[in-house]
């Protein structure tokens, strides 16, 4: 007699050893291709860093993660230090996400405040009330980089640790945005203040120049306790949100900032060129 198989076709034992967790135990982003890359979604309660330079789509991806969470019955909070909520409502509406309506239904909140207030400690934390009100399962901070304006460089890691622990203690899965101009050149460093060690997962977004056009790449640099797709995938910001495309299979050196066609691809091009000439 054979053991019953799960939907994915693997027994629980197989899943344990392949690093896979049952689909239902993952926090789905709702972006099908990204969930596939994450082997079902983020791990529950994890702190995820979403890093990238300005204009790469961090805010869009983070909002899409929260809106899709609401659709799955998981309320969410978006904490912003930068934009006022009315700009966020407007931008979200362009993607078809009516955040005001979700707020009226007590499934979503946009909190706009200053980083120093988030870090103030006392009997009450800034987020206590809103966490009580809507019982979120997901929370986004846009962005952790803003803490740098109020904290000494040496204290940055400790303060970020406090924020991460506050959310983890409450069982909230967090996505922390990070302005990261340095995911370029020859360096793979995401933050220069040692925050990469604090988070469980790092998703990096990066603009890449290929054949004189700017394209966008997404890669999962780290995912604690789980297997994940290691490939660089192209993505686009469409009128309905982030759409992840295929991997950049014919190029290398994308992360280091100097993409070039891989040797076999160059050879194939030369070969095709030569045979066309012969015709």
């Amino acid at each position: 007699m054979t053991a019953p198989r799960s939907k994915a076709g693997a027994s629980g034992f197989d899943q344990l050893f392949s690093g896979r967790v049952e689909e239902g135990l993952r926090v789905k982003t709702g972006i099908v291709e990204l969930d596939e890359m994450l082997r079902g979604g983020f791990m529950p309660g994890d702190a995820v860093m979403l890093a990238g330079s300005a204009g790469t789509g961090k805010t869009t991806l983070a909002l899409q993660y929260l809106v899709n969470g609401v659709k799955l019955g998981e309320p969410g909070i978006y904490v912003t230090f930068e934009e006022l909520p009315d700009q966020i409502y407007r931008d979200a509406k362009n993607f078809g996400w009516d955040l005001r309506k979700l707020e009226e239904e007590d499934k979503f909140r946009v909190v706009c405040t200053s980083p120093n207030l988030l870090m103030e400690s006392g009997d009450d934390s800034l987020l206590d009330d809103v966490l009580r009100d809507i019982q979120p399962r997901r929370l986004v901070i846009d962005s952790l980089s803003h803490l740098e304006m109020f904290v000494k460089r040496d204290d940055m890691r400790m303060e970020a640790y406090r924020v991460v622990r506050y959310l983890k203690t409450r069982g909230v899965s967090s996505v922390l945005l990070w302005e990261s101009p340095q995911i370029s050149g020859g360096s793979f460093s995401v933050t220069d203040v040692g925050l990469s060690f604090l988070v469980d997962c790092i998703v990096a977004l990066k603009p890449v120049e290929i054949e004189s056009s700017m394209r966008k790449a997404l890669v999962i640099l780290k995912m604690r306790g789980s297997d994940h797709d290691k490939r660089l995938r192209e993505f686009e910001i469409t009128p309905t949100g982030i759409k992840i495309e295929s991997a950049f299979t014919n190029y290398e050196g994308i992360i280091s900032g100097s993409p070039r066609k891989i040797a076999s691809e160059k050879f194939m091009e030369l070969f095709r060129g030569a045979s066309e000439k012969r015709k």
Binding site: P85, D86, E103, R109, C112, T113, S114, L117, G122, V130
Partner: protein, 98 residues
């Protein structure tokens, strides 16, 4: 408090009007009075008494976070007050029509 009293308190000054617009457009705003003043392009001195009026009315609430006092919109109270104002405006229109 009657609908007309609420309305006259809400629109009692230009700064108060600016504060209401700011908090209605950004209902999730939580900030110090200094921060709120900066966001509407006013000075703290110009804003502090107006914030106090809105705290008394109950539209805004105050909370101590560490060493700072922050203010934020009380969504439930705000809805309640707006309903009173809307009801008041209906009666005004009806009596005007008569």
């Amino acid at each position: 408090m009657s609908g007309s009293e609420i309305l006259s308190t809400l629109l009692g000054s230009e700064v108060r009007g600016d504060l209401l617009v700011l908090f209605h457009r950004n209902p999730g705003l939580i900030d110090t009075v200094d921060g709120v003043a900066r966001r509407i392009g006013r000075t703290t001195v110009a804003v502090i008494s107006e914030v106090r009026e809105l705290l008394v009315l109950g539209v805004l609430r105050q909370k101590r976070i560490g060493a700072s006092e922050v203010v934020f919109l009380d969504r439930a109270k705000d809805r309640e007050l707006l309903e009173s104002v809307a009801n008041h405006l209906k009666t005004v229109r009806i009596s005007g029509e008569n």
